[in-house]
Symmetry: C2
Subunit: 150 residues, 2 copies
């Protein structure tokens, strides 16, 4: 099942974000949660164009997460975009179709919001992830360029 995340899901989400070879270098999954995560969660919750979602198993345990941003824009005749970020599936649940179902669910949310396009970027060091999105119908038509300000 997929639902909006609540603040009580935050430790589980951060654990998911950190449980990944690239994410492990970036996240801090400590018992005392980093204040920055709490502030980020508050900013996401306060913004009606942000949707932080979790996948939960039958026992209510968080086994996946993603963030969907709804972005208004002028291009393509004033088209809204849905943008997917921070997709993670728990290691114990990979390979069983949960990721595909979660992306399908997110695309459905974007359609309901009136988006004409769903977009995301995927690190080139994750070829399996890129192939996964291509199987979901995404086309790698663009370069994803990043400028680190840190």
């Amino acid at each position: 099942m997929f639902r909006n995340a609540s603040s009580t899901d935050l430790p589980a989400i951060i654990t998911l974000l950190a449980d990944d070879p690239i994410g492990a270098t970036r996240e801090v999954a400590s018992k005392e949660m980093d204040q920055a995560y709490l502030e980020a969660f508050a900013a996401i919750e306060a913004d009606p164009n942000q949707l932080l979602a979790v996948a939960v198993d039958d026992d209510g345990k968080v086994i996946g997460c993603l963030q969907l941003s709804f972005i208004p824009g002028l291009s393509r005749k004033g088209m809204w975009r849905g943008q997917i970020e921070s997709v993670r599936i728990a290691a114990s649940h990979r390979g069983g179709g949960l990721g595909a179902a979660m992306i399908e669910w997110a695309v459905e949310q974007a359609k309901e919001k009136g988006c004409g396009l769903v977009q995301l970027t995927s690190d080139k060091r994750r070829p399996d992830a890129i192939r996964f999105y291509e199987r979901q119908g995404f086309v790698a038509s663009h370069e994803g360029l990043k400028l680190d300000l840190s």
Copy 2:
């Protein structure tokens, strides 16, 4: 000079978006402005995390535009991202450094907002644009994947 766009800039911005081999297939730069553009402009103006900006010449004529979105997120320890979209420079002003100055200005806005990263995607059919962003320090580390919902 760069400044926030106002609704009176809208016809000039749409003309810029359409004045491009790829954009020309997507935009409608008519005298009677498409209602969809007006609604999109209203949505951008109503969202404090969206900044639509124009470059103007000494006579106040619009010669460039871009949209900057500020996106809160949990990844990378609750880092905010700045995302650049819909970058255009008037044909008459290309090659003179205006684009670089506009991107530099946008990056500065993202820094002031506390973003740790600025990101954008660029169509692979625009190799000159991709090289331009790489010269500004952007790294093409990601694939930009799009799913058309239309």
